[in-house]
Symmetry: D2
Subunit: 349 residues, 4 copies
């Protein structure tokens, strides 16, 4: 049994980690921290977990974590992880960080996108970007995993087979993402007020969305040249799920079968990728991955105008956050990739 | 491994059985039938199950089922199960019937409520009403399990501790139930059309709802005298979840603690009942049981008018249908009551 | 043209007043106040009103209001109106108060239900309870209108024909109300956070809901004896609309036609009441009054158990708040009762 | 008073016409036809209109329409209008056709996009494309108005200022549209079943969406050269509203103010266009136009990658269908452009 601490257990990614780890058979959750709720029962904040975790939130302390855990999942706001990661690694713990703090390889990009001088450029080199479909081998034995952002995950999974296969020379993409309200986190704010948020179709951060930095990093690496991605998120009414529609202009009219082949080849053997085609449900819809770690990938080819749209549908809290983090954790520890992640998507939901 | 057939696998209760059984460790699903989709892949009808069940729907035939299965789950429309159950039992199979066909003990009631002459009154005696919180012991070794209706389950679980404890002499109740759209099944109809169904708060079957018959049967048994229950369902906008608000007039102003004690005593040791009280989340809300087999039970006491409301919140497809059926199946086969049913509720969802 | 001020224009009832008054042909809105947003454009807070009200919010001051308005609509939190109403009346203005401050005739009840000593018991006598279906004649020329609460409106309209007709001797009722998220007002809070609020079926204030006080006052008056009403609200997922299901135990099995007659007689000639019966849409659903001032009233009679349920469906911001306030205002000023209120319900919505 | 017939009154665009015309002061609705419901009361099909239209649906007949109406609104499925329009015009009636049958100027395009040989190429020349923001002058006195499609309306309004101003040389666009369930019409189908449709984020007709034909026609005309538009619609959970996000690659990094100026100039004086900018609500959201005829137009400029996204938010049944049809009707008859269309958007909704 691997002893696990969840640091930042009161938010939605922390909660989702707890939900998964409750049925993970190789893991014992020994500690759940929350600054705000330390000393309070888990079920006070997470009524769904009543009767499942009969423990209280703890305050975070490096010593206690060091004593009680082998692996630490950090579900903390951006820049907060920076304070803990180096010490946790020194103490010999494995760290799975769900924030953006170690996702980018180039420290310069932290200035551009996050407005910080990154204090540990060396750790950036060591960190493995926790997208198993692209970094499976590197994840084995990884000590520091930087788990990807949700919109980045959907965007990368949609475009990776395209840029990797060189099927188009135009490497400038718009990823028009539709996201659910749980992406905004557990803290209420003006925009999350139900009467205002429900029935919205609302663009936000429509310029310079930060997940573009990771998407460009990963896709450029795959392409072997510079890829530019604009991520344009839109808030829609559902609670869970995100769909990336990545629009591609192609040099020549593509054949559907060609696209399908490239995608199928690229994802061959990847357990959580499902390639969607067919008449009844021709395109991915996040509705059909809810509660699971699947990413459904599909596409539409409009030869009339040399346009290809690549779609990727995920549950933003699963493949977009906690599920993917556990998947990477499993791989890094030599466990079955899908341990704790086997329950099929909930439908209808 | 118990070999299991799911008969009627294209509807929502069939689907939910498949979702649960996919992670059930003592069961192998050997056959999934559907008259309409025989020969077609499961994922054509259930896109969420793509990559999980790599088999096709079969046509139903008694012989084939007899060869391949030890237990048969029947997820069929009312009166259809009647045709198969006697033969399946004769062939030595265990039957878990999710229809209403064997729920009522008194054959006369089938005339009154279902407008049929019940052809197998003897089997009604043998059938065990599959509500484990009331029939745990009888379920052990049961060969024919009649799994309860969703609105009946919520109503009974809300009122059982009250009628069993004799805390009130007025045994006439209104159970005002709020239900989600998945209760209506997988077939589209006028009332399920999204633009009409979304944002509805719509009473339906507001007189003579059939689940009242089972609720009265079970509650009268517990009370030792005749109980009358009116179930008044209201369709609301969510996709999953049902809440019963059962309104009780009491003889004298009750104390909260008294009610709490009766409920806690009544449900002591019952794995899937959670009693809800407290300041932050004072009453049950089906939102916090979604995807799980929990029934959250709570109450409100208004001493000013001698009124007590008992609440029970369930996921209508889980504790209200497939989850409860698997729970009963587990008990009847000497398995752990929660095998296949351990994943915590999905939240937020 | 009557010059009108809307005091408290940044909340949802204020907004709804503005929406109606924008098309009211006998009214000129001369002032819209908001402490928080004074000096800011209306459209900053109300993006839907962009291009419709090209004015800014003002600070409230008695002098300015006195100069600019003939009628003042007060859309303020409870107890705040108390500070202004007496002076506004002295200055000769008409006041339509949408708070609870002048709804109850008996000052003692303010202690019991609102925990305040009411400072103006005399004004309570003068105030007219602004439910036109019950107080049409008194509203003519009224100088102080106390506009009813939303859940009270639905409960009273559902039960009024029953208590008035003496069709039952049991005058103790539960009004099980289902309400939309806009009832909670425009300020975000934990419970209104979209991921938590969406898909909820959540009882709240399940004991001692304050609207019961007005409902009991009005229904007792109609009955000529004491009526007891328990209002049990449940938050459901829609944004607009409320349904009261008021459960009645009858002495004898009633005939549908008898109930229908009493209801029809009681509401004869009332412009905004629609009595719902029939096969396709047999019961009221707030979905079909959205955006309008209608109250749809219907019923279900279950003779088997001597139970009658009375339903009333309203748009909580229209007939439940701003629409009804304008309706009363129209009557009090001798205008057509439906001026500004003629647009049919929005459907589908 | 202009006498008006609504042909095809049982669908959602027919219903929306009826809702608007009920408060239109220059119009008398003399006839509402429906093949399916002829002889049945309007309120049977449209429960929201109970008490508003106290008439029955009629069967359609050219003679009767000729006797009773001056203007005919045709809310019929595509290709059905073709049968009636020539005769109605001959009889001297004005026709406002909400189908696609007369939207395209080039008869060849009907083969390509609708797979029909258009029988009345001459009428195509006479028909005015009923988008008043582009064809105001032509609409005056128009006898045949071809009212635009909803996704075309949003796409054209988003892109028109861009192509008209020559601000970019790349005239190939993807319009990624998010649409509500009412776009699918009033007939239930598999995809509209609430449990499947709610919470969907579902691409459909992702190649060759027909509205692209009208969008290309109108935008090419404005640009003076060939414009290519791919419309990619996505079904999201709301009931009303559509947002077009039209993605534009620009030659050089644009300045926000430049874009704003072009948009403002282009739409100067257009009553139903609101240009959205600012900090609180920086982009259009269909939520804030619900129930109204407004189109909110906005934009995002990402200079980093020379990308511009143009947004247009409409209520698909109003500016996207019935509202726009009445707007064109008003202009054509010399009435105030906003007669019947003055009620502000409903919010929250």
């Amino acid at each position: 049994m691997i002893r696990v601490a969840v640091v930042g257990g009161s938010g939605y990614t922390g909660l989702e980690l707890l939900r998964i780890l409750a049925v993970h058979r190789e893991v014992e959750v020994t500690m759940i921290t929350s600054r705000e709720y330390a000393g309070k029962p888990i079920s006070l904040v997470h009524p769904n977990l009543r009767g499942i975790y009969n423990m209280n939130f703890s305050d975070f302390s490096l010593d206690k974590v060091g004593d009680r855990a082998d692996t630490v999942f950090l579900a903390l706001p951006h820049t907060v992880s920076l304070n803990y990661v180096p010490k946790l690694l020194e103490m010999g713990l494995q760290v799975v960080d769900l924030s953006a703090d170690f996702r980018l390889k180039n420290p310069e990009l932290y200035k551009v996108w996050y407005d910080i001088e990154h204090p540990y450029p060396d750790l950036l080199k060591k960190a493995v970007y926790g997208l198993p479909e692209l970094h499976f081998e590197e994840l084995k034995g990884a000590k520091l995993i930087a788990s990807p952002g949700c919109n980045a995950t959907a965007t990368i999974l949609a475009l990776a087979p395209i840029v990797a296969s060189g099927i188009t020379s135009d490497l400038r993409f718009v990823s028009d993402v539709k996201v659910s309200s749980s992406e905004g986190g557990a803290k209420p704010h003006e925009g999350s007020h139900h009467p205002e948020r429900e029935n919205a179709i609302r663009p936000y951060e429509a310029t310079g969305h930060r997940h573009a930095a990771e998407a460009e990093q990963e896709l450029s690496r795959l392409a072997g040249k510079e890829v530019k991605v604009s991520i344009v998120p839109h808030a829609v009414s559902s609670v869970r799920g995100a769909l990336a529609s990545a629009h591609v202009w192609t040099d020549i009219p593509l054949k559907e079968m060609d696209v399908w082949k490239r995608v199928a080849e690229f994802y061959r053997g990847r357990k959580f990728i499902r390639i969607i085609r067919g008449n009844v449900h021709p395109y991915p819809d996040p509705k059909y991955v809810i509660g699971s770690n699947f990413a459904d990938v599909g596409f539409a080819v409009e030869t009339r105008v040399n346009r290809l749209t690549m779609f990727a549908a995920i549950d933003n809290l699963m493949k977009g956050a906690a599920g993917q983090a556990v998947q990477s954790f499993n791989i890094s520890n030599g466990l079955s990739e899908d341990e704790g992640l086997r329950l099929p998507p909930l439908r209808p939901a």
